[in-house]
């Protein structure tokens, strides 16, 4: 029997350009696969299901307790709420914005190391080490341990989504990796509890309000999620970003002229080349009638985010990469903004989205401004195997030379951040 369109999407042969297949998928917004899975590919239907209380994220995974990405409300909300205490508003509003100087510093150092070369592997020399360094510093995970947790993270990522014939082997490998990763993080959390520093794990491990609402095992499980989600996705957004900009040199030129355009470029990338292409494993808790189909209770649901973000019924001219897009149809009455599914939607909307955005904005604007005459040395690049977390394994980029970092930027950003932190501390003092 001929493979279904969705099976072709999963086929590694189509990894470099799945978008024509997505267009084919969208012709039937909700398709039942032979294995009983319902594949949803149109924008409105995906948005509806992301906000539908009859759709669950709970899946059986051998390792308990599950991290909150695999929980439903109210447990999901409880854990997300608690983890957020030291990550974002309302309790810690300035943390991510305050990281900008540090991010710029890391990026500056990585690009400085390009000096003297005329080509680099954008993945190994930039897009991977950058977010890893960031998430390690944020969480308080020693950067030197990267070779250890990289193995575990890879095992987890490889097993995401429908992985075909190798499923058994990959799942076993993943389960073993999760056990080790959690044990590693448990040890680390215990260490931070006794020797707290200025990082997220220390803050969580020493906050009674956190510990009262979350067990140690839950903390380790969710720390593992943050560690993996914190770098396995951003690497692809940065890499896809460089790849796409080099395929669209006029946009790259526009960013050079108007640096703030990088903000909308990142949004357009999340729409056009999203790192998370598919949410593979939702489950219907009840019969759900949608787009003329009934998804029966108990059926697995697969949301093809990347297809939805290019749905012509949602965006105008969807296959064009255009950070300055204003949708004229919709602009008549509404804001012409870019609404995409790059970070999902509903209660599971990406927890790390603000960090990923700021990281990618800093990364791309520095690459664009510091590389002279950058160009792709191989197009398409080789891809990593996974269809769900899709991105190049390598991206060879050539350039004439590396310009020095703009002087004064790092110190200025630092000053601003310090002023903010002082103001926040004063406000906190006033409150208490």
């Amino acid at each position: 029997m001929a493979p279904s369109v969705f099976q072709q999407v999963l086929d590694y042969a189509n990894r470099a350009d799945p978008y024509p297949l997505y267009a084919e998928l969208r012709r039937t917004p909700v398709i039942r696969e032979d294995d009983g899975r319902y594949v949803v590919s149109t924008y409105r239907e995906i948005v509806a299901l992301l906000h539908d209380p009859r759709v669950s994220s709970v899946r059986k995974e051998s390792e308990e307790p599950p991290s909150f990405i695999r929980l439903d409300p109210p447990e999901h909300d409880r854990i997300r709420r608690v983890l957020n205490r030291h990550f974002g508003p309302p309790e810690t509003p300035g943390r991510i914005d305050g990281m900008r100087p540090e991010l710029l510093e890391i990026v500056t150092e990585l690009i400085d190391r390009f000096a003297g070369k005329d080509q680099v592997d954008m993945v190994d020399e930039f897009a991977y080490p950058f977010p890893v360094t960031v998430i390690c510093r944020l969480l308080g995970v020693p950067r030197e341990d990267e070779p250890r947790f990289r193995v575990w993270a890879d095992a987890v990522v490889e097993a995401i989504g429908p992985v075909g014939a190798e499923q058994e082997r990959l799942y076993a490998k993943r389960d073993a990796a999760i056990v080790e990763l959690r044990a590693y993080l448990s040890g680390l959390i215990e260490f931070h509890r006794r020797h707290p520093r200025d990082d997220l794990l220390s803050a969580l491990a020493t906050d009674d309000a956190v510990l009262g609402r979350m067990s140690r095992a839950e903390l380790a499980s969710n720390a593992a999620l943050l560690l993996i989600a914190g770098h396995e996705t951003t690497v692809n957004l940065i890499t896809n970003g460089m790849l796409t900009l080099l395929r669209h040199p006029h946009v790259l030129e526009r960013i050079r002229q108007r640096p703030e355009l990088v903000i909308r470029t990142v949004e357009e990338l999340l729409r056009y080349e999203p790192p998370v292409q598919i949410l593979p494993d939702r489950v219907a808790l009840d019969d759900i009638e949608i787009a003329g189909t009934v998804i029966p209770a108990g059926a697995p649901i697969t949301l093809v985010l990347a297809a939805g973000s290019r749905d012509p019924d949602h965006v105008w001219d969807p296959d064009r990469f255009n950070p300055e897009r204003i949708d004229p149809e919709r602009f008549v009455l509404r804001r012409g903004g870019n609404q995409h599914l790059g970070f999902g939607g509903g209660v599971h909307y990406c927890f790390g989205a603000p960090l990923a955005r700021v990281e990618t904005q800093v990364a791309l604007s520095e690459l664009v401004s510091r590389l002279d005459n950058p160009r792709l040395l191989a197009d398409p690049p080789p891809y990593r195997p996974n269809a769900v977390l899709r991105g190049p394994r390598h991206l060879m980029v050539g350039f004439d030379q590396v310009r020095p970092a703009r002087v004064g930027r790092v110190p200025r950003a630092r000053e601003e951040a310090a002023a903010r932190a002082a103001a926040e501390a004063a406000a906190a003092k006033e409150r208490s």
Partner: protein, 539 residues
């Protein structure tokens, strides 16, 4: 910079508060407060925030709307619509400004006059009873964002005093007149004052509708009053009470009904709101009325006398007694304008006194009263931000379109309120209901979804800090889905309970014997494709 957040779209994702923390702040899990006119130094952060908003709810000053205008809009303008050269909008606030924008993006190039009795450029009111009273944002920093190319003849500080239908002319105070081919009535409402004129004039007695009211009240709150009395436990009163709690000012809410918010949500959720207030330290007194306000020798408020015989020492009182429609200027216009507002059809065209529809006079916003198919074609008057916005857009489109290309105003009513760190949202019309059921979450934790029904159909839903689910329930309302909704879903309340009477909600309409049942459904997303459909059980 100027910005506004469409909080009916906002689902509390907090992306803006992460990326521009000095401009956007979260109060509790989902409620967003923001500075509408932040310093330019924040510009880049605001661009990051606006781009990141997953539902694109942040509206900024924008460049010329006409640059972005599709050529199609121009081409559409032919026939009678092309004969529209002069448009006058009376009421320079949310609905008026939105209509002006929509007219320009819709291709209207003729003369556009905006008449407003307030001296200020259009500003946003919801922040007034929230971040303005708490002092987070000064009252004057609430100016609404605008397009650079609006090209409007502003007549600010000039009340309209009459509408001459025959001559198609608006009379302005001081003797001016402005001719029109089409006019939009968007004069909104004003606060219902404390009924006793002498008592209302006491120093320390306030209402909150405009920016100047809020500025003055803010000053008094900052001075640290002994106790604030809030008269009326509706949304406005509850928000003011919440502000007082934030500021650590003792506050008493006196509500004539059995619970706060009872007029909007009925008794079941009213009880939840009452709990919320008490837990936050509000001295809440229900089933009691304020009978008199008393002043000292210098006519300064010192005391309130309540209907239960008690007295309260207070130095500040806020009358939150609802609204009066600004229709006096239309007295001799021959339109169906009265205390109920200005009646119009679903295409926003005003009715004359006979109930016959006009074709050059349009209505939008708080002053309008319009039929909604989902609610048995009853005339609704909604004092909701998003209704003003949506209705203004429909009115603008219809003002410059041919008969065959008119759009109906079929948006579902949506509303939000921010109080005590809770984002309260509603969709549909809870008062057009007699039963209610909690389908998700927990009222005790004040994070839940409640669904309303009437005659076996879903009519409304209300969320407390659960706004990400609201769209799902909007869909049930649009499809006139059966009530009680029966589905298995996440976060079902511990024990499935049968729906209970919604509590005393003001009667919607007298129940009549109808010869047959018909159900209305509304479909379509973009206003150009949104339509109502009657479904008869017989086929």
């Amino acid at each position: 910079m100027r910005l506004a957040v469409d909080l009916t779209r906002c689902q509390g994702y907090a992306q803006c508060a992460f990326l521009a923390p000095d401009v956007f702040t979260m109060s509790g899990d989902e409620a967003l407060l923001y500075d509408a006119n932040p310093d330019d130094i924040q510009r880049e952060r605001i661009l990051r925030a606006a781009a990141a908003c997953p539902v694109q709810a942040i509206i900024l000053d924008h460049r010329d709307e006409r640059e972005a205008r599709p050529a199609a809009a121009e081409a559409n303008r032919s026939g009678t619509a092309a004969a529209v050269e002069r448009i006058v909008i009376v009421g320079a606030s949310l609905a008026g400004l939105r209509a002006a924008h929509a007219l320009r993006t819709g291709g209207f190039t003729g003369s556009l006059t905006l008449i407003g009795d307030e001296p200020h450029r259009p500003y946003d009111r919801p922040p007034l009873s929230k971040q303005v009273l708490t002092g987070q944002v000064p009252a004057q920093r609430t100016v609404l964002p605008r397009s650079t190319g609006l090209d409007v003849d502003w007549r600010l500080g000039q009340p309209a005093i009459g509408l001459d239908r025959a001559r198609r002319r608006v009379h302005v105070a001081g003797g001016g007149e402005v001719d029109f081919d089409r006019v939009l009535i968007a004069t909104g409402v004003r606060a219902r004052p404390w009924p006793n004129v002498a008592e209302a004039a006491l120093d320390g007695v306030f209402v909150v509708r405009g920016r100047d009211d809020a500025a003055e009240l803010r000053e008094r709150l900052a001075a640290g009053p002994q106790r604030v009395l809030v008269i009326g436990g509706g949304f406005l009163g509850s928000e003011v009470a919440s502000d007082c709690c934030d500021l650590g000012i003792p506050v008493t809410v006196v509500e004539r009904g059995p619970q706060p918010l009872v007029g909007a949500f009925g008794g079941v959720l009213g009880a939840v709101a009452a709990e919320l207030q008490r837990a936050n330290g509000v001295d809440l007194r229900c089933g009691v009325a304020v009978e008199a306000l008393e002043g000292d020798a210098d006519a300064r408020l010192v005391r309130a006398r309540l209907s239960d015989g008690s007295t309260l020492d207070v130095d500040l009182a806020v009358a939150a007694l609802g609204a009066v429609r600004n229709v006096e200027w239309l007295r001799d216009s021959g339109l169906a304008a009265g205390p109920w507002g200005v009646a119009c059809d679903a295409g926003c065209r005003a009715f004359d006194v006979n109930g016959v529809v006009t074709d050059d006079i349009f209505v939008a916003g708080d002053v309008a009263r319009f039929p909604h198919p989902l609610y048995e074609y009853q005339l609704l008057a909604l004092e909701h931000w998003s209704n003003a916005l949506n209705q203004a857009e429909i009115a603008a489109h219809n003002m410059i379109s041919d008969e065959s290309d008119r759009w109906p105003h079929l948006a579902l009513p949506v509303f939000w309120s921010t109080q005590f760190g809770v984002e309260i949202k509603s969709v549909g019309v809870p008062t057009f209901s007699d039963e209610v059921l909690v389908t998700q979450g927990s009222t005790a934790e004040r994070r839940f979804v409640a669904v309303y029904g009437k005659d076996g159909r879903v009519t409304a839903a209300v969320t407390f800090n659960q706004s990400k689910w609201l769209e799902f329930y909007a869909g049930l309302i649009e499809r006139s889905a059966p009530f009680p909704p029966e589905f298995r879903g996440v976060d079902h309340p511990a024990k499935a309970k049968p729906p209970v009477a919604a509590g005393p909600v003001p009667a919607a309409i007298p129940i009549q014997a109808v010869p047959y049942h018909a159900t209305v459904m509304v479909t379509g997303h973009h206003p150009s494709e949104r339509r109502a459909r009657l479904v008869h059980p017989s086929g």
